[in-house]
């Protein structure tokens, strides 16, 4: 009954309040999203990542993260589903705890990158002229920079560690977002509703924040989701080069890095975290593909 009325409320022809209208919009997008099996799989993966991260203390035993040199390098089996690592720790447990770090990276990068990219892109695209020129030159410089190398340089300068790695990644990732936001802003700025807003005397700041930016958001979010995999991989790459999370933090890239010498005889040590990274980036990619189909029906999906 309640679900029926909730659904009814969500699909009501005539929304009665701002809140209902907003919920409806989200719900209808969700309906469209739901029809895309690929995206749903992606969402499921990400959702389970979040769940695993939240439930980590209950999913793992407390002593699992401690060294147990007597039980090192045990193959996957009943006691240790993913085997144990070079210091005798349960790999599954470490992967579970590592999911928190992955989410932390993803979250932190997003909240740094999106605002920077959005502000620079929207301002450049909408204002145009020399402001655009200047901002885009700046963006170009960061684009032209070898990305991993810039990140490494930044980490090296800031000192290794997860926070610094994330910061470095963020500082090297914002440029494409600025470009996307700018491209969107360029098409938006000449649309009639922007002219209408100017006609009504809305200030430039108001147009940027209330009219242009929200419309750039969806492509930025899609791109962000698609880039997430890249971000995770870059973080893992930095971890691989010893510049990311510090031991014994169970960051997946660092786990591969330290475990790589065991690939030949104890394949599970680097392989399990490798698969974890693969699955999660796959999840983000699937989700991003799906979101793009929902937000931008012209590519993919039926027309």
């Amino acid at each position: 009954m309640t679900t029926l009325t909730l659904r009814g409320w969500l699909l009501a022809e005539v929304p009665r309040s701002k809140g209902q209208a907003r919920c409806q919009r989200v719900f209808i997008s969700w309906l469209a999203f739901k029809r895309n099996p690929v995206a749903v799989i992606g969402l499921l993966i990400i959702a389970s990542l979040v769940m695993v991260a939240l439930l980590a203390p209950w999913l793992t035993s407390t002593e699992a993260l401690e060294l147990n040199l007597a039980k090192r390098l045990q193959p996957p089996g009943g006691e240790h589903w993913f085997g144990t690592d070079e210091l005798g720790r349960d790999i599954l447990d470490r992967i579970i705890w590592g999911s928190r770090i992955t989410l932390y990276i993803v979250g932190l990068v997003s909240i740094i990158v999106v605002p920077i990219g959005l502000v620079i892109g929207v301002v450049a695209g909408y204002i145009g002229g020399w402001v655009d020129n200047f901002l885009m030159r700046l963006t170009d410089i960061f684009l032209a920079f070898p990305r991993l190398i810039l990140a490494m340089a930044l980490v090296a300068a800031l000192g290794p560690g997860l926070e610094n790695a994330v910061l470095a990644i963020a500082l090297t990732t914002w440029s494409p977002f600025a470009r996307i936001a700018r491209a969107e802003a360029l098409t938006i700025r000449n649309s009639d509703f922007i002219l209408a807003a100017r006609m009504q005397g809305v200030s430039t700041a108001g147009i940027l924040t209330r009219h242009v930016a929200p419309l750039c958001m969806s492509s930025v979010i899609v791109r962000l989701t698609l880039d997430m995999a890249g971000i995770i991989l870059t973080a893992a790459g930095l971890g691989f080069l010893g510049l990311g999370a510090q031991p014994p933090t169970p960051e997946w890239g660092a786990m591969i890095s330290l475990g790589r010498q065991y690939l030949i005889d104890q394949w599970w040590v680097p392989t399990m975290p490798g698969i974890a990274i693969l699955v999660v980036s796959l999840g983000f990619n699937l989700l991003g593909d799906g979101l793009r189909d929902v937000f931008d029906p012209k590519s993919g999906g039926n027309q």
């Binding site: 401690e66 060294l67 040199l69 007597a70 090192r72 390098l73 070079e86 210091l87 005798g88 090296a156 000192g159 290794p160 560690g161 010893g242 510090q246 031991p247 014994p248 330290l258 790589r260 010498q261 065991y262 690939l263 030949i264 005889d265 104890q266």
Partner: protein, 531 residues
């Protein structure tokens, strides 16, 4: 011989054309060894101070004094046929062997030998301290080191030093004899050929340098006219392979003859392979932990002592270090003259806790451990972290590349450093000077060559004993003094010495005669042969 077989290879579902791999075996006359050679920055013996180049120049240059691969225990003359020590022990006269030839064909003269040492002092690169400590400097070296005639070299020291120590020091890389004529023909702006010699060789050793491509390859060519006869191999190639796993694969496939950087677990992995043999070579490298005495808590002797009791040396040495590191708890490596081989410490949490309580830190405290990024340091650091936690000492690990770690260390910016050390030359003084002697503990003194200074630790008893042993003429007494000094440092001071390296070298079974001695520069290729 190589038919191109076209194989359809489905990798990641991408189809690509692949040419069949050659069934690899290295050529009969070539010795290929894989090693991480990224540390090479110069080939000039006056400047060489890195592990890889230490080994390479040992094969290119003959030194004044040498250990020969045939007998690694006893110091013998290199280019020096014989020597005489003056009464006061301050002047040594060497007779240079006759008939020696440089790779260039130039004869080896006493003048070359003298000039080589003068050059070291005048260029004053990092390793120069090994000889400048004898009182030589750019102004006086021409008179203190000189060729008295065509085959006699006379050196005089102005500081108090045991002549045994001086002879030992003259077996270091800086005592390599350089072809003066050849080098001076490449001199630019009075640089004594420094620029040229960085990437070229001018020696009289078993091999000459053919190519050095940084991060790629070093190729040596046999010196057929070597005084011990032509080396077994025409060419020696050091291939840069930084990944131990790659080294292992290459070795198993026969693409290389020897892998130098395998990890203990990889060595275990290839045990069953009948084509491969693994030899252990005890090395002078020790792994130690140092606590900054300038730190309010770490400055307390009891805290460091507690740490010595907290660490579980054996379980590390039995697991991830197995075969490549053994427990060793004194600053001079076991197996060398004057080494203290006792290992008094085992994990003993109760004692440790008591000591910490006495020091007023029963509730524990928090520290940062700085260490290197390459294996096994992150693993040791994590084990140490777990060990120290038992005493309530919480630690964070920061791993850094050496180039980033050393500036921190030299600026005394660390809490605890986990690192390694190998002697500069085979004399206990080399390590005693670093671990026990601190001539001036003031920060401005910048005695960065001394680990004691880096850890802001100075102790009069230790300082004076180190100097006394250095100057002692009597060998037995000298040995006793070093043993005493090591025992002293086991109980106090900022160092927790943990392990000594045992280099495991994996080679194809058809290869023999590779010699690796206790010090990093005691590696010889000339006896290598292949079946």
């Amino acid at each position: 011989m190589k038919k191109i077989k076209i194989t359809l290879l489905g990798f990641a579902a991408a189809l690509m054309l692949v040419t069949g791999a050659s069934q690899a075996a290295t050529p009969k006359n070539t010795f290929v060894l894989a090693k991480d050679i990224a540390d090479i920055i110069t080939m000039d013996p006056a400047e060489v101070f890195e592990l890889t180049t230490g080994e390479i120049i040992a094969n290119i240059y003959d030194r004044i004094m040498m250990f020969e691969p045939e007998d690694l225990q006893n110091l013998v003359g290199g280019v020096a046929e014989s020597w005489e020590v003056s009464e006061d022990g301050k002047t040594i006269t060497f007779k240079v062997r006759s008939g020696l030839k440089f790779h260039s064909g130039n004869p080896v003269r006493a003048e070359d030998v003298a000039w080589s040492l003068q050059r070291v002092v005048k260029l004053n690169k990092t390793p120069a301290f090994i000889v400048t400590q004898f009182g030589w400097n750019a102004d006086n070296v021409d008179s203190l080191v000189k060729a008295t005639d065509n085959d006699h070299l006379q050196i005089t020291i102005t500081e108090e030093f045991s002549p045994g120590l001086v002879l030992n020091a003259l077996s270091a890389g800086i005592a390599s004899v350089v072809d003066k004529k050849l080098v001076m023909s490449h001199e630019k702006d009075g640089d004594l050929g420094y620029d040229w010699l960085k990437s070229n060789s001018a020696g009289s050793g078993a091999f000459s340098l053919k190519t050095w491509k940084a991060n790629e390859i070093v190729m040596l060519q046999a010196h057929k006219g070597y005084r011990h006869g032509a080396p077994g191999m025409d060419r020696v190639i050091l291939q840069h392979v930084s990944e131990p796993s790659s080294q292992r694969l290459l070795l198993e496939k026969g693409d290389i003859d020897m892998a130098r950087n395998l990890t203990p677990d990889q060595v275990k992995g290839i045990e069953g392979n009948s084509d491969i043999a693994v030899d252990g070579h005890p090395k002078g490298t020790i792994v130690y932990m140092a606590a900054n005495a300038g730190h309010p808590i770490l400055g307390k002797d009891k805290v460091v002592q507690a740490m010595r009791h907290l660490i579980d040396y054996d379980s590390m040495a039995d697991s991830f270090l197995a075969g490549q590191f053994v427990v060793h708890q004194a600053f001079w490596p076991a197996g060398l003259w004057g080494a203290l081989e006792t290992t008094p410490y085992k994990q003993d949490v109760v004692t440790a806790k008591a000591l910490l309580a006495e020091a007023g830190h029963a509730d524990g405290f928090e520290l940062t451990i700085h260490t290197l990024t390459n294996s096994p340091f992150p693993e040791i650091a994590q084990a140490v972290q777990a060990n120290l936690a038992k005493g309530g000492i919480k630690t964070n690990i920061v791993t850094l590349e050496g180039k980033t770690l050393w500036p921190k260390y030299r600026a005394r910016e660390h809490d605890i450093i986990l690192a390694h050390w190998s002697p500069d030359y085979v004399d206990p003084h080399s390590n005693a000077d670093a671990f026990a002697n601190n001539p001036d503990n003031r920060f401005e003194a910048k005695k960065t060559g001394h680990l004691t200074w880096r850890n802001a630790w100075s102790d009069d008893a230790s300082n004076s004993l180190a100097i006394k042993a250095r100057n002692e003429l009597d060998l037995d007494k000298r040995k006793q003094q070093y043993l005493e000094l090591q025992a002293m440092l086991q109980k106090k001071g900022p160092f927790v010495i943990m392990f000594q390296q045992n280099e495991q070298v994996a080679r194809r079974r058809n290869l023999d005669g590779f010699v690796s001695g206790s010090n990093f520069d005691l590696v010889f290729y000339r006896n290598v042969t292949k079946r």
